[in-house]
Every structure is written in structure tokens, then in C-alpha cells.
Amino acid sequence: MKASPQLFAPLARLLHWLMALMVIAMLFIGAGLAASVSERHAWLIQLHKPLGIAILALVIVRLVVRFSTQQPPLPQDLPQWQVLAAKASHLMLYGLMLALPLLGWAMISAAGDPVMLSSSVRLPALVEANAPLFALLRKAHGYLAYLLFLTVLVHLAAALFHGLIRRDGVLQSMTGTKD
């Protein structure tokens, strides 16, 4: 049996930090466009759609990487509730990163709008035009984005807690700075 690694695989780390930037940017872009009537609204939405599809593609790659590489184990002395919280929050992060772009794609489809990633690149509709379904999906997209932002905050706080307070190597397993 192979010894457990102390670090996440290099590709897993690269994907994590790339997607961390993209997801945080995406959350701010989404919140900004929904709260603006200025020109920002128009260009943020043009950024939001292709970035969302890029995140969807990357999260699929990332799930493949996750299941085909070994994860460093959590410290043995980590309290059970923190182990559970770590597992649950990771499940939540993956689930929301997958669900939000799909909801965005589906809600544009349900509105009967063409799903344009640029002035000429169009994705097929994910669902048929249906206004009540649009209202449901659009609200879900907004509320779940807030849930994702909260989960990201908790994840960040926990990572810093591991790095600064517990100093147990968990943060370093993702930064790659552990020797």
C-alpha cells in the first residue's frame, strides 16, 4: 500500500487555486450585475456567462482529478465534528460549483433567451421556454450563489484556522509549501 501523500496532487492544487480565483470573481460579478443599472450591468453579464461555462468545464475536470488522485488525510487529532464539517463543506462546494452554472444556463433557456457566450457563440437551450420555471431557476441561482459565498467564507476561515492556529499542515497541503 502506498503511503498517503502530504500534499494534494500538483494538478489538483493548480485547479484549486485557479478555480478559487474564478469562483470568487464570479460571485462578485454576479452580485454586481444584479445590483446595477449602469453599463457595468451589460459588460459584467457578458463576462459572467463564458466564465460560468468555464467553471462548469473545470469542475468536471476537477472531479475526475479528485477521484483519480490520492488526497492527503486530515490530521488524526482533528475533532470528529471538524472532520464532518470539512467533508460536508467540500461536498457543498463541489455541488454548488456544478449546480450554479447549470442553473444559469437552464434559467436563460427557460426565459426563452438565446444562450449567447459571445456575440456569435450560442449554446443550445438546456430546457424549453417556461416562464414560471425561469422564475424558480433564477431565484435558486441567486440564493444558491449566496450559499456558495457563505461556504467559501467558512472554507477560507477554516483554512486559515488550520494554517495559523492549529498549524497542522492542512493549509500547506493545498499551498504546496509543506516540506
Binding site: 500500500m1 498517503s4 502530504q6 470568487i24 460571485l27 462578485f28 452580485a31 454586481g32 450585475l33 444584479a34 445590483a35 446595477s36 443599472v37 449602469s38 453599463e39 457595468r40 450591468h41 451589460a42 453579464i45 492527503p72 488525510p73 486530515l74 490530521p75 488524526q76 487529532d77 426565459a111 426563452g112 433567451d113 438565446p114 449567447m116 456575440s119 456569435s120 450560442r122 443550445p124 421556454a129 417556461n130 416562464a131 414560471p132 425561469f134 422564475a135 424558480l136 433564477r138 431565484k139 459565498f149 467564507l153 477560507l156 476561515a157 486559515l160 484556522f161 495559523l164 492556529i165 492549529r166 498549524r167 497542522d168 499542515g169
Partner: protein, 360 residues
């Protein structure tokens, strides 16, 4: 198989622990605060889509299922027949294909779905062109040639000037004159309103796109334009309001029973120096006008179940070959329409319980 041992960690002093916990708190709270600023929570003065839609609801009342503006209307369907004239200027398929199906909607420019047809001299025509390649062009046009104001902020002030006074239930009569005194940019609109009469028919009106856009050809060359649809071989303008308050839809149904109605799509090419980012400014003097083709309206449907009901006529839904100008009203219309659309999309069933007769 043992997990890796944790590295040795000397205990933190209380002071160090407090500093480190505080640092984590600062990072997390800082990110949360930045987010709260961006989403408007910490920036209450910002004009948001919902601010505009709330103002429309304040002025007109809340009518579930209806558009929050241009609430009273009728769906139509037909097709667009392109001419060759716009092809050199735009690569959009709507101009290269002979025929493109369209769904449209004629409406009154008020958020009150029971407004009498004679209450305003303005009529609107919104159109969705569905290209064979799946791209769409949506445009909302109005019978006035210019918009009263050039910015979303000024439009919001205009809505506030028309808001009912809680004490009387009616707008303060001094507000509107005060607004227009403070907004000289509204002069061209006011000059038009003076001569405008509520028409007896949707069919006799010219509808103007008002905002500037760019036509973009295959080489990427951009030409700024404003577009309008001009009625063809329909009765002369001048018939003014007839009796009753719901004559426009009846008139349309009657005319369509006799045959299709046609409008010519005119593209007015901007001259150097024409203002592209202010819809309150007319383009004066001689201009080249392209006849881009003909809109043929063949049938109508009541809006409660019509094909136009669930369309958000967002002016930024454009095909490749047509681009938005930097007119700030375009982004504001797009953002506010999305907010109105979200509200009414979840309220479809009340449309069927609406009173049949107009309210006074």
C-alpha cells in the same frame, strides 16, 4: 497504516492566539464587506434594477402577472422580409435571409394594465426576430422620436416626480413642472408631446428604436444607426381617440382580419458628430436612411396567453452583426426589464383572473 503525524507545534501565547484569530476575522469580514458593497447592501444610494421597478410599482400599483411598464398590450406574429440595403452594413442573418419570423407586441407605455387607450399619446411596438441560426434580435420601439431623458438616474427622478403623494393619492402637480425645469434635455421630447395625439390605431404609428446601435458587417466595420418602423399603406395618422378605452386592440384585430399590416424598417445612419450615447437628443439635418426591409404582421393574440407574454424584450438581446452603443439607457433597460420579468414570470395565473372591463 498510520496517517502522517502532525508537525510539532509549540503552543501559541495568548497574545499571539488573539492576534491570529483577529487576523482571520479581518480577512473573512473584509471579503464579506467587499461583497456587501458590490451587491449594494453597503451602498444604498446606488440605483439598482429593483429601485426602478419598485418606482414603477409605486406609480402604477402592483398588477401581478403584468409587465411593470407597458402593461397593457396585445401580441402579434408575422415575419420580416429583408431588402438588400442593410447587407453591406450588417452581417446579421435577419438581413441576409429573405424571411425571418417575428413575434411582436403593441402596448401602451404605462404600468397600469387598465389605462384607457386615450390616456397617453404614446404607443409602443416590441419585436423579437428569431433567426434560423438560433440568434435573436429584440427591440422595444416607441412612437416618440426621442426619450425624455438621457440617463437612468434622470429617468428615476422622472418616475419619482410622477409618484403619488401618500396624503392625496395623486402626484403633486408641482413635481412634474419642477422636474422638467431641472431637465432641459427633455425639451425635444416635450416639443413632440405638444403635437402628439393618442392615435386611434396601432397600425398608423411610426415606432422608433430611440437608442443608437451599431450595424457591424463581415469585415468588422461598424456603422452607428437609429432604427424605426414606418407604416406602409395604412390610414393616415390623425385619427384621434375614439370612444371607449379599449379601442386599440379591437382596431388591430379588425384590420388584421382584412389582411396583413406592414411597416418598413428604416436604418438612419449616424452622421459624424451625431450623439450616440444620449437618447434625448434628436439627430437633426439630412441623413442617409436605408430601407432594411418590411415587417409583415399577420395575426394577433390576446396577451394573457399570447406568444409574446413570456418574452422579455431586452434591447441587449442582439444577433451577431448588431451591437449596442454606449447609451447608458440600454444597460438600464436591460437590467430593469430583467427585474420586472423575474417578478411577473412567477405570477402567470393572475392574468386570467383580471377584470374584463377597464377600471376608471
Amino acid at each position: 497504516m498510520l496517517d502522517h503525524p502532525s508537525p510539532p507545534r509549540p503552543a501559541l501565547s495568548t497574545a499571539s492566539l488573539v492576534v491570529r484569530l483577529a487576523a482571520i476575522g479581518v480577512v473573512v469580514a473584509g471579503l464579506a464587506a467587499a461583497f456587501a458593497y458590490v451587491n449594494g447592501t453597503l451602498d444604498p444610494q446606488r440605483l439598482r434594477p429593483k429601485t426602478l421597478v419598485n418606482a414603477l410599482e409605486t406609480n402604477n400599483g402592483v398588477h401581478p402577472g403584468y409587465r411593470r411598464n407597458h402593461a397593457k398590450g396585445v401580441c402579434v406574429a408575422g415575419y420580416f422580409q429583408s431588402s438588400a440595403e442593410a447587407r453591406a452594413y450588417s452581417s446579421a442573418e435577419v438581413f441576409s435571409e429573405a424571411k425571418t419570423p417575428l413575434i411582436g407586441r403593441f402596448a401602451l407605455p404605462s404600468g397600469n394594465p387598465y389605462a384607457p387607450d386615450s390616456s397617453v399619446p404614446i404607443r409602443s411596438f416590441a419585436v423579437q426576430f428569431s433567426q434560423a441560426n438560433g440568434q435573436q434580435w429584440r427591440t422595444g420601439m416607441n412612437s416618440m422620436p426621442v426619450f425624455p431623458v438621457g440617463t437612468p438616474e434622470a429617468f428615476y427622478q422622472l418616475l419619482k416626480a410622477g409618484a403619488p403623494d401618500p396624503a392625496t393619492g395623486k402626484p403633486n402637480p408641482a413635481n412634474m413642472p419642477a422636474f422638467f425645469a431641472a431637465h432641459p434635455e427633455a425639451a425635444p421630447f416635450l416639443a413632440w408631446v405638444k403635437t402628439a395625439k393618442p392615435s386611434a390605431s396601432y397600425a398608423t404609428e411610426t415606432y422608433n428604436g430611440i437608442n443608437a446601435f451599431y450595424l457591424v458587417n463581415g469585415e468588422g466595420k461598424r456603422q452607428a444607426v437609429r432604427w424605426a418602423v414606418v407604416p406602409q399603406s395604412q390610414d393616415a395618422v390623425g385619427d384621434t381617440a375614439v370612444d371607449g378605452s379599449d379601442f386599440l386592440e379591437k382596431d388591430l384585430v379588425q384590420r388584421l382580419a382584412a389582411g396583413p399590416l406592414r411597416w418598413q424598417l428604416n436604418m438612419t445612419l449616424a452622421n459624424p458628430g451625431d450623439v450616440l450615447d444620449d437618447a434625448s437628443k434628436p439627430w437633426s439635418g439630412p441623413h442617409t436612411v436605408l430601407n432594411a426591409g418590411t415587417l409583415v404582421v399577420q395575426s394577433s393574440q390576446p396577451q394573457a396567453d399570447g406568444d409574446c407574454r413570456d418574452i422579455n424584450f431586452d434591447p441587449l438581446i442582439l444577433p451577431s452583426g448588431i451591437q449596442a452603443s454606449n447609451d447608458p439607457l440600454l444597460a438600464a433597460r436591460s437590467a430593469a426589464y430583467a427585474s420586472s420579468y423575474l417578478r411577473r414570470a412567477g405570477e402567470v395565473s393572475p392574468l386570467h383572473h383580471a377584470p374584463q372591463e377597464s377600471k376608471p
